[in-house]
């Protein structure tokens, strides 16, 4: 996920759990889905609008336009002066921001609950009335190029992940980075942004989540008032993207960069996502990631590679299945000093083979179930995180029952489910294995970083 501003969001596994807080949903006549999550402990409200369009829906050759538009959405409308949007929210004591993923683009404000009317009016206004000048677009393009330089080009680990993703997806646009390829970002135009905006930003392509100290009926009245008059787009069609063919050949990449300190092995496998109508397999993979690498002391990889054999200083496994199309299941190992990447990877594969043979430790599985149940309690302390869960779930096509049933799906995962999912996914023909290694510092050598060096002009 890429934000308009802020630290990179790392893939971390959490065990999501849904609230016992009251959740109300309804749909306006123009197709806008609305979710209201009540939490009356503090006089705060979060408004989030989630558009069901993201980087994977970009026209080919225009990578980065979804994220670029996200930046440009703060430039103003007929009612809001250029670059004044955030200032108006801030002057009311609120904060606002936005983020883009492959499947969705979301905008949010966090503000005193009695200011909901204002931010709803502003968010509804920019859904259809954005104004962009060429100058806005030219300056903001420099900002996204700086963003790419800061978050990707300056970080060899991020470059490796970008290359691995491109190799993982043979046909699906999930292989294209959200920020965009630099050479395509440099060409993104005002017209590209407006075309994309006019086609996809509409009430019938969005979910509005209002969470906090609010009453559903009052939210409904405000939503009718501000969003109700907006015309739906007739260009919204089901997202039917190019799908992956069978993946038959393992892919291996090596990225050498003089900025690398400790080399590491990173591997991703193509994996099923949470499918509307069936999220059991995704639940099994979520538990599998937790068992393999979710805990620095007790997980399978930590025990085997850090405690028993001491060939690694760090291990991890991760999986996030909330997507429209195929997800990835990932593993990472940082070898101990003196252990080669080859040896560390061989140990990793040995441990995975053993796991597939022996299956999970039942006590560990039981602890995870306990944490899932407790997670439902802890999750109620953070209404913004709950808002994200509903917004994301609806944005990838899950139903309310499926979003709310995720904990139950996790709790229902059996030993057999885990083994079946692991045997299906942990197959190296489905995998990309990346080695991040040190390169000698030599001026003449063209490192990947240098190759990606910017040719940005004022």
């Amino acid at each position: 996920m890429l934000g308009r501003l802020g630290a990179a969001v790392l893939l971390t596994l959490t065990l999501p759990a849904l609230a016992e807080e009251p959740v109300t949903t309804f749909t306006l006549d123009n197709g806008l889905n609305v979710v209201v999550i009540e939490d009356h402990r503090a006089p705060v409200v979060v408004q989030m609008i989630w558009y069901r369009v993201g980087a994977a829906d970009e026209p080919r050759g225009h990578s980065g336009i979804a994220h670029f538009l996200e930046h440009l959405m703060f430039k103003g409308t007929e009612k809001v002066a250029p670059n004044a949007f955030s200032g108006i929210v801030e002057a009311q004591g609120g904060d606002d921001n936005a983020f883009t993923s492959w499947d969705y683009t979301a905008y949010f404000q966090r503000i005193a609950a009695d200011r909901l009317d204002l931010v709803m009016e502003m968010e509804a206004d920019r859904m259809r009335n954005l104004r962009l000048t060429e100058e806005d677009v030219d300056t903001e393009r420099q900002v996204i190029l700086e963003e790419r330089a800061q978050r990707t080009d300056s970080d060899p680990g991020a470059l490796l992940m970008e290359q691995m993703r491109a190799a993982q997806f043979l046909n699906h646009p999930y292989g294209i980075p959200i920020i965009g390829w630099r050479h395509e970002m440099e060409e993104l135009s005002r017209q590209d942004a407006l075309d994309y905006y006019q086609r996809f930003y509409a009430p019938n392509n969005a979910t509005l989540v209002i969470a906090g100290d609010v009453e559903p009926e009052a939210v409904r009245a405000l939503a009718e008032q501000h969003y109700g008059p907006l015309k739906p787009s007739d260009a919204i069609v089901p997202r039917d993207r190019a799908q992956e063919p069978p993946q038959l050949a393992e892919r291996r990449l090596v990225l050498a960069d003089e900025r690398v300190s400790d080399p590491y092995v990173f591997r991703t496998y193509i994996a099923p996502e949470r499918d509307p109508g069936n999220q059991a397999e995704a639940a099994a993979l979520t538990v599998l990631a937790e068992l393999l690498g979710g805990n620095g002391q007790t997980s399978v990889l930590a025990r085997a590679l850090q405690f028993d054999a001491q060939v690694a200083v760090y291990t991890s496994a991760f999986y996030s299945g909330t997507s429209i199309d195929d997800a990835t299941f990932g593993l990472a190992v940082i070898p101990a000093p003196g252990v080669t990447l080859e040896a560390a990877e061989a140990e990793l594969d040995r441990v995975l083979a053993e796991f597939l043979e022996n299956g999970p430790d039942l006590a560990a599985l039981e602890r995870i179930r306990t944490q899932v149940r407790a997670g439902e309690i802890y999750a109620r302390d953070d209404v913004e995180a709950l808002a994200r869960r509903y917004g994301e779930g609806f944005s990838v096509g899950l139903t309310l029952a499926e979003i709310e049933g995720w904990d139950e799906a996790l709790s229902a995962v059996t030993e057999a489910d885990i083994l079946a999912a692991a045997r299906k996914v942990l197959d190296r023909r489905n995998a990309v294995t990346g080695w991040l290694t040190q390169a000698e510092a030599a001026p003449a050598e063209v490192t990947p970083a240098a190759a990606a060096a910017p040719e940005v002009q004022e």
Binding site: G93, I111, D138, E146, Q150, S154, Q297, R380, D381, V383
Partner: protein, 431 residues
């Protein structure tokens, strides 16, 4: 320029004042804590801070408090590392331990249904950590891996270089994580000694929020902390400020330069603190309307983000900032920063700018108290900063009381463009 519809609503009244009923709890054994009771959700958030942190270390033991803190949960009492983690997970409790420059922090969240067992387990980690040699060695390798990674991270290189230039031989001059050499040389005895010197009752601050009564919290405090040593190591003295104005460039192979800059700041208890706080918010607050964000990012596209911060450590006060910019643009970005540093003194700010910043600060303050976790964390921070309990209700009036005259006077006192030092890590052009 059309400001019509939305600008008009600025006249709205401010949101309700935060109503945070804080109680001071003193345990039968004499340990005090601040508490906000809220029985809506059956769990408690507990925050503990021990003043001192990594600044307690001798120069040749740099990194020992960090290594000690990271090893607290790697076995305690009769439980080894794995046994401890399994017990914690079976209770669905979460504990985290953090070694900071001025304090060691402990954050815990536990369910009401097994609170006693969770506290027993946390007590083991704080009072009876095992520091098994194997665990110390394993965690040491992780620390060393982080240190090697930091050596190639431009942001860390820049901030460490800055500290070295500013603080001479004070502990603030070097990273609390230590160096590869010092951490490699640390022994188990060093770790045990660091535990005794850093975790003591004479320096502990505690806050809790959630499903717990004052009486329950009192008993919990004695059980959890009562057996810690009464006193720890002496705290370090004031840090010198040796930073000369200028630019330091450190070569690093990257398309961007990472810049860390700053000057001397203003103490937290200075009568001019609130005007200074508001001024920093206007100049470099992490928001899109701050002057530096407007000038460096929005108008010129020179960076993805820029911010400045009033930093009050226990023994030093600083005004710091950071950003990244492409190597061919960083010189221009630095010029803009200096110009803005001057402009806020020479031109001052407009009454509208001051008003908008005040309404942001006062309006956003109550929004921070939106959960047990955030509340406990704010409350322990207030105690560390020496704030009275009613600060929560007086803080906004202190912001509102700041006048245009205050701003003018304090701007001239605070912002010294000629004192700024910029550490630039990258391959900057034309610097």
């Amino acid at each position: 320029m059309i400001r019509a519809v939305f600008a008009a609503v600025l006249a709205l009244t401010l949101p309700a004042q935060a109503e945070i009923p804080i109680k001071e709890v003193t345990s039968p054994g004499g340990i005090t804590a601040w508490l906000v009771e809220d029985h809506n959700i059956p769990f408690t958030a507990l925050e503990i801070q021990f003043r001192g942190g990594t600044s307690l270390e001798a120069p040749d033991k740099r990194g020992v408090v960090n290594l000690m803190t990271a090893t607290l949960e790697e076995g305690a009492g009769e439980l080894d590392s794995r046994g401890f983690a399994e017990a914690r997970d079976a209770l669905a409790a979460s504990f985290s331990f953090d070694a900071g420059t001025d304090s060691v922090g402990v954050s815990a969240q536990f369910l009401t249904e097994n609170r006693d067992q969770a506290i027993d387990l946390l007590r083991k980690a704080l009072i009876e950590p095992r520091f098994d040699q194997a665990a110390v060695d394993r965690v040491r390798e992780q620390v060393l891996s982080n240190l090697r990674s930091n050596e190639k991270d431009p942001g860390t290189i820049a901030s460490e270089r800055f500290d070295l230039l500013a603080f001479g031989d004070h502990p603030y001059a070097s990273s609390g994580d230590g160096t590869v050499d010092t951490v490699t040389a640390l022994t188990r005895d060093d770790v045990v000694a660091a535990h005794k010197s850093a975790l003591a009752r004479d320096r502990v601050f505690v806050a809790a929020a959630g499903d717990i009564t004052a009486e329950e919290l009192g008993h919990l405090l004695d059980k959890l902390l009562g057996d810690l040593p009464a006193t720890g190591s002496p705290l370090p003295g004031a840090a010198p400020w040796l930073l000369a104005p200028g630019v330091t460039v450190q070569d690093f192979p990257s398309p961007q330069s990472t810049v860390f800059f700053g000057q001397k700041g203003i103490p937290r208890d200075d009568p001019d603190f609130f005007p200074a706080f508001i001024l920093n918010e206007m100049l470099g607050g992490g928001r899109f309307t701050a002057r530096l964000m407007t000038e460096v990012r929005e108008k010129r596209g020179l960076t993805y983000g820029i911010g400045t911060y009033i930093v009050n450590r226990d023994h030093a006060d600083m005004l710091l900032g950071q950003f990244s910019a492409s190597n061919d643009k960083v010189a221009e970005a630095i010029k803009v920063v200096k110009a803005e540093w001057d402009r806020i003194v020479s031109e001052g700010v407009t009454p509208e700018e001051l008003e908008a910043t005040k309404t942001y600060l006062t309006g956003s303050y109550p929004l921070r108290f939106d959960g047990n976790g955030p509340i406990a964390s704010i409350l322990v921070g207030m105690q560390m900063d020496g704030m009275p309990m009613d600060y929560v209700t007086t803080r906004n009036s202190k912001v509102e009381a700041v006048t245009m005259d205050d701003i003018k006077r304090v701007a001239a006192r605070l912002f010294k463009a000629a004192d700024l030092h910029f550490v630039v890590v990258g391959q900057p052009e034309a610097l």
